[in-house]
Amino acid sequence: MSVTPEEVRQIARLAELSVDEEHLPDLAAQMSRIVDYIAQLSQVSGGENAKPFIPGPDAIRLRADVVAPQPLEGKLSDFAPAFREGFFLVPKLGAFEGAEEDEE
């Protein structure tokens, strides 16, 4: 397999995605199948000097640099999972720092 279960675990962490341990071998097999398939691109030469393709208008139009209200029909609190006094609520910062230590 070109992608190991350990690599899947590492990538899932980078992607902020929890993955069940028992699913790691299946995910590694599926990712290997995909990665092996897309690896055929490396066997094709050329393209290094081709004009890069960028879709869309040649020049991005800039918006006026002014503060304007968000064109929202509802309040932020209507769709936020947890919201109080103008802030989105998340677990405590202390807990966040603990999580960082856990990652190291």
Partner: protein, 461 residues
């Protein structure tokens, strides 16, 4: 159409949507749609060019009237605080929004088997998939519940289900239609498209939703598309037939249907010429680097902090992110996020992402080479096979991805393309595809009008 007729249209649509319920194509409850349609019919603009016309929307297009779920448990019951520009344009033209259509979660899939709210059935054969990811939109049009629906394309998600369900699907040029309010998947590829029961229905909806939008910087500063007249003949058109789209293992029935369509194009007076798009075989591997890479970035916003559902019982912010995303996203979305993160990670970027961008440039060069040599349009099959059985490809992601091998090149290179029914094989619809030059959708639609009139798209090939 009078107000009385618009109300009758609303009632009839609600009834038809009710009858199509078994397809699982509509996510909005039919009672809710019925009530909304009747209210909209009373308030619609009678002078609008789409007055009284019901149009269903793929559920990754933001609306104020209905939730926008993207087919994901993570956004179940999410109510957008703004609506997409295309929705405003449809309403201004007098159209009636006929609810939200089921889709592969976050538009990632080719069979609409990856929705968080169950798979969609093909209206022609319920044991088969309707294609995807706009499978709900295609199934509703194919079942005759609505004359048109909006979908979105990243790799063929309008044209492929259109082909599988026997309807018309148009993907306009990148930048032709505003994407403001379309939930992003692959931002350099995404484009809103239209599914219709006929070329005319699809084209007139496209005409309404096209044109400039100051809220989308990737939308070109152009007037809306002007509809061409229905031509009697196609004299003066040069149509290229690329050999790479007719491989030896192409389904024989699909080949027969295409051969018949090509004969019809010649009979209509078009000059048909063999052409080559040599990098076509690399479109799918290129697509499955670029699209997941962009998806992994775009879907980073779904973290349980600002909107959507969040995981319960977590004590740290890192856990909140990971549990929300791990339990909220389905398996296909997770797979693509992982692949996208992998190809962008240090050590692999040059081997995959940079190489894919180089290949994308070569694919674009292929099309320029053909069009620069006097070819107006390219004609191909839309898909290599007819609709496959439900469950047939879910175990092997790569075999599922190959369902888009003839559609993804147009997304990678931004050119317009459309599918229309050109026959049936063992009762299953076959789609023929026109690929056009950037912003010349009118040529493509003109040829499709003529071909649609010249052949019976429901006849066995």
């Amino acid at each position: 159409m009078t107000e009385v007729e618009a109300l009758a249209s609303a009632k009839a649509t609600a009834t038809r949507l009710g009858k199509a319920k078994r397809l699982n194509a509509l996510l909005t409850p039919t009672t809710v749609v019925r009530k909304s349609l009747l209210a909209q019919a009373k308030e619609a603009h009678p002078s609008g060019v789409l007055y009284g016309m019901p149009v269903a929307l793929k559920d990754n297009i933001c609306t104020l009237e209905f939730p926008t779920t993207c087919g994901s448990k993570l956004l179940e019951a999410y109510q957008s605080p703004y609506e997409a520009t295309v929705v405003t344009k449809l309403k201004d033209a007098g159209a009636l929004i006929a609810g939200k259509a089921n889709l592969d979660e976050f538009a990632m899939g080719s069979s609409t088997e990856h929705s968080g709210f169950g798979r969609v059935l093909n209206p022609v054969d319920r044991t088969r998939v309707p294609g995807g990811s706009s499978g709900g939109s295609a199934a509703l049009v194919g079942a005759g519940a609505v004359p048109a629906a909006l979908g979105s394309e990243t790799g063929g998600s309008v044209r492929q289900p259109a082909a599988f369900c026997g309807v018309v699907g148009i993907k306009p040029t990148y930048g032709r239609v505003s994407r403001y309010g379309l939930v992003a998947f692959g931002s350099s590829l995404d484009q809103i498209g239209v599914l219709g029961r006929s070329v005319h229905d699809a084209a007139r909806v496209l005409s309404v939703i096209s044109g400039r939008d100051p809220r989308d910087s990737t939308c070109e500063n152009r007037d809306p598309l002007r509809l061409p007249t229905v031509p009697e003949r196609l004299e003066g058109f040069v149509i290229g037939i690329p050999k790479e789209y007719f491989p030896v293992d192409l389904n024989p029935g699909v080949r027969r249907a295409c051969d018949r369509a090509i004969r019809a194009l010649k009979d209509l007076g078009a000059a048909v010429r063999d052409v080559s798009l040599p990098h076509t075989p690399y479109a799918i591997p290129t697509y499955y680097v670029i699209a997941p890479a962009e998806a992994s970035s775009n879907l980073a916003r779904f973290d349980g902090v600002r909107y959507g559902n969040r995981a319960d019982g977590v004590t740290t912010l890192a856990e909140l992110y990971r549990q929300t995303r791990g339990t909220g996203f389905g398996p296909e979305v997770q797979r693509r996020i992982l692949v996208g993160t992998y190809v962008l990670s240090s050590g692999y970027y040059d081997a995959y992402y940079k190489k894919a961008q180089q290949m994308r440039a070569l694919l674009a060069q292929d099309f320029r080479n053909v069009f620069d040599r006097g070819v107006d349009l390219i004609f191909t099959p839309t898909t290599p096979t007819t609709a496959f059985k439900a469950g047939e490809r879910t175990k092997d992601p790569v075999s599922m991805y190959l369902a888009d091998c003839f559609t993804a090149p147009a997304n990678l290179t931004g050119v317009p393309a459309m599918s229309l029914p050109i026959g049936r094989v063992k009762g299953l619809p076959v789609g023929g595809q026109f690929i056009g030059q950037p912003f010349l959708e009118d040529d493509m639609i003109e040829a499709a009008y003529a071909l649609e009139r010249a052949i019976d798209g429901t006849e066995e090939a």
